[in-house]
């Protein structure tokens, strides 16, 4: 064969140089798999070249482009191996009537190809037999020397695969598997069968004679799975992508026993940092794409769930109590098909003013053509407190407390610390209560999901229902969810399709109102750490034991006697229609909804220890609140897709979007419950405060456009633009404009690039995009007033006065300009894919609250200045991301297989500019926001820890008198000596005061990574997922109490090593009541290395052999055991290094203070299909 480059490019047939790799060509086409086999004889005429040359030189087109076009036009699937069609070109075809078969027959012979219609609208294109001449090869399929073969094709899990193409190699003789994965056909003896299907690696099998026992298990083609990337208002193939998008598949998400997909994203995608800030069941998850780019605004990425943009505002879900419900929990992770994270500015720019934190596109599962398939996914597990902290026992505590008192010149609290009896004669003791054991208990986690999917050529459906329940390891806490989902697609006519995606859920969070509160507010996590061991959980008379020294609460009582039941209903979905105006022009119109309602009912029983001593008539209190939000969406897009002059591939998008929200909340509270029988506010005696209601609305009107162009799939370019008009901004700043451009070059498509070598694909790309963040309070542009303050009017009339409570603003959105460069590389037949990205995000016009002068006369809360939001400052995030997916050992047909998925990210965050403020002398100096222990200042990463530096322990009172004064006192023996860094004149001044604070830690990790190894052998699979964070600090504020040694609170065993005249070689200061020296001030004493590596998920699964499964009337059955958080390697001394007491904050991060501890979970589960 020649590599003819004649004008007509005919006939051209390149040797197959790319091995099995199946291209999916249809973008939004209809994947169609069925079992009807229709043999089709085609006349393979060969048109004489001379005849063609007499015609005026017609243009040529890429065959694959033509096929793609026809797929769209006829809503058919044309199946071929990419090396078969390759870059072959054929004469441009005029638009003409006729069946697809007619048209294929007219074109394919130009390039020595032929086709076969396996069933309706399903065509296979293969090389024409070289020697067969013009005879129909199919006729030989019926020849007498053929032998019958049959068998079954399954996926890697053993589930039957319908619609797999089975061809005799080099012919069009073939069939496809039926809904149960079975096939049968007659083949010549000693021929080779080729099994191929979208998303799986093609396999070949030689047959020597008649057989009925062929069992083929196709393995996933990772590359192929990722090939279609959802980029927002459209899709692109991975090869043509010019932006940084990471895709995470269903298997990676569904493996983990967690409430929501956001939690399961952890460690799966480079550039995406997921932290579970606390172990609260159903709580909010912190997701940051490429670092924090805002000081004050929502740092969460925008989630686009089946086309509906959802921005989780955890704080808004809360109307009552302290729960941070997570609106993303409405989606059952089992229902997710894929997650695409749009990371660089160019990819996200199509979502404009909400895209600065990246965009996460969630696509849920769809039905496939074929018989109804029923899936059942069940797991059950137990969760345990991952780690207990070592605390003092009764005798140790009594001794410690005595020292605390005597060092301050007070009488000891326990006359005999060896027999620490309670001073209350009714409960003499001695007790030795382990409050952690009393507060935490093993809890169950369970999930059930049943789904039915299937479809015909015209209708496809996926319906599922699920129930998930996670009890909390802390008493009286938990989360459960019922969800129901429908995805429906219907072809109404040749040119018109419509569909429905609907996710509905009811979730219930049961929380004590107390768990994560501060100690002084009877937080129970801190309570379990600090309640003293010398008292009982319950007294002999049944009341709760309370601390006789400080009256602090009883964590068990606080948990059991308070509750907050939050029930939310949520619907996220859309209804769409798609109409082909022209063959290449498609109109899509949709209406979507994000509806949330949450009601909460909180109750503090009469026995709540915090108010046990209150007047009986006021005991017991209740609160209720309701929040309802409707966010509707309406979008229209036009998509134009055409190839010009064979090589110019162009996709144009123009769209319009309107989204608006209305949220209404109300609430009321009462107190004075005569009994605990009815925990609803109507049973209370007195109304507390004024019942309230509140309503707010926002709207966003957007226009956007995008052009995706490539030349010969070699030179790639994408340009997009979005204009967003937001109701949050005043008219002058209403429209934000967000352009983006991305370029790519597929080096491997160049002629100079060695074809058929180790490198199968190599692409370099670069992009720039502008994204916005508009998440300021909805009405902050208005100057608002409220009624309230009175003044005597005429006579006795009193009129309420209006006072200002908000100042309007004329700010604009924050803008993030992001530059990205990347490399995509595939090697060894796609067994190795490597992605590298380097980026620089520059966020300008940071929005933050700044104090304004008193002379504005604006509302002033007690003593301080009023604030307004202003555009101040600049932040930067830069980093690199590496993703590597390898098939180390290919496990064909049940052999040993091993794949690895590795990713690592390094991000550097820095605030470049934060404006100025005046110092005490009126000079302008850089602005700082200090919120212990964090500081926001230019030049430092967001959330840097700021405090004093420990220099050592003062060894004698005499030494202390020569040291700088701390809290205006000379430090005493055993006190901590802090470093005198500077003073008002820029020099150390012999006084330890606020001038001596400095940066003492950085909570931002230097790098974070995830690595998953999957092993398979026969039906056994082992998945090992490690995840880690490196180089981040944690401020362990718990220790400022548990090692504080200042009052009657229990301490950690670390204090056994405290300083004393006989124990001087230590870093734990002396115990002393009231901490006169400020030993417990914010200092590097409590800063710890938060680096960790953890075996996040370990799953061992067994896929029942198909034969056995069949006996049980099952198509497939997988049983598995999983543990989550099995082992954690860390130097961090607290409960868990994955922690944040302020989970929603961008600037107060890495602080551990009373955070609900994480669990270790063991689960058993099955996945079955019927």
């Amino acid at each position: 064969m020649t590599k003819s480059l004649t004008f007509l490019s005919w006939p051209t047939a390149r040797p197959a140089c790319l091995a099995a790799g199946v291209a999916v060509l249809h973008l939004l086409g209809t994947p169609a798999h069925a079992q009807i086999l229709a043999l089709n004889s085609v006349a393979h005429q060969r048109v004489p070249a001379e005849a063609l040359r007499t015609v005026r030189a017609p243009k040529t087109v890429l065959l694959k482009t033509l096929l793609k076009q026809w797929e769209n036009e006829y809503h058919a699937t044309i199946f071929y191996e990419s090396n078969v069609v390759d870059n072959k070109r054929v004469a441009e075809q005029p638009a003409a009537p006729g069946t697809l078969a007619d048209r294929l027959a007219a074109v394919l012979p130009q390039v020595s190809l032929q086709f076969k219609e396996l069933r309706i609208n399903y065509f296979v294109v293969v090389n024409a037999p070289v020697v067969a001449g013009f005879g129909s090869p199919t006729s030989s399929a019926l020849a007498a020397d053929n032998v019958p073969v049959s068998g079954r094709v399954t996926d890697p899990k053993g589930e039957p695969l319908p619609g797999v193409t089975v061809l005799v190699k080099g012919t069009t003789n073939g069939t496809s598997t039926d809904a149960t994965g079975n096939f049968s056909l007659s083949v010549p003896e000693n021929s080779t069968l080729v099994f191929s299907s979208v998303g799986f690696k093609t396999q070949e099998l030689a047959v020597t004679g008649a057989t009925s026992t062929i069992a083929i298990r196709l393995s996933d083609d990772q590359q192929a799975l990722n090939e279609v990337v959802v980029v927002g208002y459209g899709t692109q193939t991975r090869q043509e992508l010019t932006t940084a998008v990471t895709s995470v598949g269903a298997a990676q998400i569904a493996r983990q026993p967690v409430a929501g997909f956001d939690q399961a994203l952890q460690g799966q995608a480079p550039g995406v940092q997921v932290t579970t800030p606390s172990g609260t069941p159903g709580g909010g998850i912190n997701v940051r794409v490429r670092g924090n780019s805002s000081v004050s605004l929502n740092g969460s990425p925008l989630y686009v769930i089946d086309g509906v943009p959802v921005l989780p505002t955890y704080d808004q879900e809360i109307t009552n109590g302290n729960q941070r419900a997570n609106p993303l929990n409405t989606i059952n992770p089992n229902d997710i098909e894929s997650i695409d994270v749009l990371k660089d500015g160019a990819a996200a720019a199509i979502y404009g003013v909400r895209a600065a934190n990246g965009v996460v596109v969630i696509t849920t599962k769809r039905g496939k053509v074929g018989q109804a398939q029923v899936g059942l996914n069940v797991y059950y597990g137990r969760q345990y407190l991952r780690k207990k902290l070592d605390l003092l026992n009764s005798q140790q505590f009594a001794k410690e407390y005595n020292e605390i008192l005597t060092n301050a010149g007070r009488a000891p609290g326990f006359p005999d610390p060896n027999n620490p009896v309670n001073s209350d004669p009714a409960n003499p003791g001695p007790y030795n209560t382990d409050w952690q054991d009393a507060t935490y208990h093993p809890a169950s986690i369970q999930s059930y999901q049943l789904n039915v999917s299937g479809g015909t050529e015209k209708t496809r459906y996926y319906v599922s229902g699920g129930y998930f329940k996670q009890d909390g390891i802390s008493l009286n806490s938990g989360f459960d969810r019922y969800n129901f989902k429908v995805n429906l697609e219907q072809s109404v006519s040749d040119r018109f399709r419509m569909g429905l995606n609907l996710n509905t859920s009811r979730s219930h969070t049961n929380g004590s109102t107390r768990s994560e509160l501060a100690l002084g507010n009877s937080g129970t996590v801190l309570g379990a750490l600090t309640q003293i061991p010398t008292i009982p959980v319950r007294n002999a008379n049944g009341t709760y034991g309370t601390n006789p020294f400080t009256l602090s609460d009883n964590p068990v009582g606080d948990l059991l006697e308070t509750s907050n039941q939050a029930i939310s209903y949520q619907v996220i979905g859309n209804l769409y229609g798609e109409y082909d105006i022209l063959k290449s022009l498609k109109l899509r119109s949709s209406v979507g909804i994000d509806f949330r309602t949450q009601n909460e009912n909180a109750f503090y029983s009469r026995n709540y220890p915090g108010t046990a001593n209150a007047d009986a008539a006021t005991r017991g209190s209740g609160n209720t609140a309701l929040s309802q939000q409707v966010i509707w969406l309406q979008e229209n897009t036009l998509t134009y897709n055409k190839t010009f002059n064979d090589k110019h591939n162009l996709t144009l998008l123009a769209g319009e979007s309107m989204q608006a929200s209305d949220r209404f909340t109300s609430g009321a509270g009462t107190k004075g419950f005569p009994s605990n029988a009815v925990p609803y506010i109507s049973a209370g005696a007195t109304v507390v405060g004024i019942p309230y209601s509140y309503e707010e609305q926002w709207a966003l009107l957007s226009f956007f456009g995008r052009a995706i162009y490539n030349y010969d799939e070699r030179y790639l370019a994408t340009v997009s633009f979005r204009a967003d008009a937001s109701s949050r901004f005043s008219a002058a700043n209403r429209f934000g404009y967000f352009p983006a451009v991305a370029l790519g070059w597929r080096v491997s498509k160049e002629s100079f690039f060695p074809q058929g070598g180790k490198i199968s694909d190599l692409k370099v790309r670069a992009s720039f995009g502008a994204n916005g963040n508009q998440e300021i309070p909805i009405y902050s542009r208005f100057s608002t007033y409220s009624l309230g303050n009175n003044y005597q009017g005429n006579g006795s009339a009193i009129l309420g006065g209006i006072t200002q409570n908000g100042i309007g603003n004329n700010v604009k959105w924050e803008t993030t300009y992001q530059y990205n460069a990347g490399i995509d590389l595939s090697m060894y037949d796609n067994r190795l894919t490597f992605t590298f990205d380097i980026y620089n995000k520059h966020t300008v016009d940071l929005l933050t609250q700044v104090n304004i002068p008193l002379s504005t006369g604006a509302p002033v809360p007690s003593g301080s200045n009023a604030t307004v939001i202003q555009n101040i400052g600049t932040a930067e995030n830069k980093g690199i991301e590496i993703g590597l997916v390898t098939t180390n050992i290919q496990g064909n047909n049940g052999g040993f297989g091993w794949t690895t998925n590795f990713n690592i990210t390094g991000n550097r965050n820095k605030l470049l500019d934060f404006g100025t403020q005046a110092d005490a002398t009126g000079n302008q100096v850089p602005r700082t926001n200090i919120n212990d222990p964090n500081i926001v200042q230019a030049g430092s990463p967001l959330g840097s820890f700021y405090g004093f530096k420990v220099q050592g322990i003062v060894q004698s009172d005499a030494e202390g008198t020569n040291l700088p004064k701390q809290n205006s006192l000379a430090p005493k023996a055993g006190d901590i000596q802090f470093q005198d860094i500077t003073g008002p004149n820029g020099k150390p001044d012999g006084v330890i005061d606020n001038y001596d604070r400095t940066i003492i830690g950085n909570p931002n990790p230097k790098a974070f990574a995830g690595v998953t190894n999957n092993f398979s052998y026969k039906g056994i699979e082992l998945s090992v997922f490690f995840q880690g964070s490196f180089g981040n600090d944690i401020y362990n504020q718990n220790r400022s109490i548990t090692e504080g040694q200042t009052t009657a609170l229990n301490q950690s065993t670390a204090v056994l090593n405290h300083w004393s005249p006989t124990n001087t070689n230590t870093n734990i200061p002396r115990p002393v009541f009231g901490d006169p020296n400020g030993n417990n001030r914010v200092s590097d004493r409590f800063v710890e290395d938060g680096s960790y590596v953890r075996l996040k998920n370990l799953t061992l699964a067994y896929n029942l052999p198909v034969g056995i499964a069949k006996h049980a009337a099952l198509k497939s059955l997988r049983v598995y055991a999983t543990t989550q958080n099995l082992i954690t390697w860390t130097h961090y001394s607290g409960y868990d290094p994955e922690v944040s007491a302020d989970p929603l904050s961008n600037t107060s991060i890495g602080r551990d203070y009373g955070v609900y501890p994480q669990t270790r979970t063991y689960t058993l589960g099955i996945n079955a299909t019927f």
């Binding site: 018109f496 229609g577 109409y579 119109s589 949709s590 309406q634 229209n636 309107m658 509140y694 309503e695 707010e696 609305q697 709207a699 009107l701 008009a725 109701s727 909805i778 009405y779 208005f782 100057s783 608002t784 007033y785 409220s786 009624l787 303050n789 009175n790 003044y791 005597q792 009017g793 005429n794 006795s796 009193i798 009129l799 309420g800 006065g801 209006i802 006072t803 200002q804 409570n805 908000g806 100042i807 309007g808 603003n809 004329n810 700044v850 304004i852 002068p853 008193l854 002379s855 504005t856 006369g857 604006a858 003593g863 200045n865 307004v868 202003q870 403020q917 005046a918 009126g922 302008q924």
Partner: protein
Amino acid sequence: MKKLFILPVAGLALLAGCNFLQKEPLTNITPNNFFASGDDAEASITAVYDALQGTGAYGQDLMTMGEMPTDNCTSANNDVNQLRTISWTPTTSQVTNVYKQAYLGVNRANVVLKYVPTVAMDTARRSQIQGEARFIRALCYFTLVRAYGDVPLRLLPTETSSPSEINLPRTAAADVYAQIVADLQRAAIQMPASNNNRATKNSANALLTRVQLTQRNWAAAQASANKVIANNIPLNSTFKSLFPAENKGPESLFEIQYNPGSGDGGNLIPDEILPLPYATYSYAKFNVPSADIIAFADTVNDRRWAYNGRLQTSGGLFVGRDHVSYVDATKNQASGANANDRGPFVFKWTSIGNGFNSTDNNYVLRYAEVLLGYAEAVNEQTGPSADVLAKLNLVRQRAGLAALTAASPQYASKQTMRNEIERQRRLEFAFEGERWWDLVRYARHTLADPSAVHTITALDIIAARRAGGTRDVNFLLFPLPQAEINTNPQLKQNPGY
């Protein structure tokens, strides 16, 4: 299928409507949903008055700022120590709070003046409301300009975050005074002739008198005072009947109302100045009468200071000797009384403190001040005259003092008459919050005209009370609050701080 095209069509129709992005606050008052009726206008002016009640204004700090640095008062309370010892700094609480509260009043008045003119309501009342807002704006700016000197002059409500509109520079004091005078002159036209609870024409002219005396614009002060005097207002028949202030007398030209029974806040001052058993708590009190003023007053003949009777609790325990302006509680035997409750105490607020929630009002302007102001203005222009004596004697005679005549030694010269008028001002208005401003006024008068000698001025007190003993003119002004300096890059601190 055709039906589905309703979607884009509906979308475009909504676009055409184009109020899609107009999302107004629904549960907040904004200028767009308010100022629609007379009730709204009344509510907005009510808030302006409310600003005067605050602790940063007459509710507490103006009352201590006007007395604690003077020869009238002393105190052992740390909260007023910096005022007493004239060692205030930019972070002194009174320095911050007075500034803050005055601008709160200015901003609220600006809201009224911006929005009320277009409210559909009774036009006469609408005009009055604007007059009242101008009066209070003038009162607040007068507080600011005499305490801090040049200050930012803001005449529109703060409704934007734009730095150029938020960070205003200082306006020259003369221009601030010009605005005050203009506001008061307009207010005097717009406000009603009488209203027990609110400001009136007489309030505006009385304040104008005080402003113009401060400017040493004697002729204008005389004219302004004359507008009040022309109304033939009587003084209260007895000085004793003036106290506590409760809208009682014809003499009251403007007082701050406290009416805690009606959902309004009460007055803190009585609890802060009175001893047990009148106060709720026992602690070191503010504004304690100094030995100097008790020695200065004629506690026998001057009915303002004379002994009036013994004060006893309901159980008959001796509390003290009532001297009208003060109580001598040196031997206080009331139950619970301790050293904090013994000694002299101001007794112009005599209701019980009621837990910092007293119903006593505070006087801002009394007719007696207009009379003395008139006398001073005329004396400074022409020296002693029958006209001066006529006004001065009204005040003297109500106090039980003999009328002065042309033969009286005080009549001898402008200087002797000046001394007499100053003496009457001090004795008449002691503890009512004006003494420091008078002393500052006298100091500036002498600085401007060394021939105008005052018996005592603020500079004498500064020299006496400040460590170092210098007559530091910088302390005639308070410093700008640090919270203002920190946030407004347009401002420079007053000299000396």
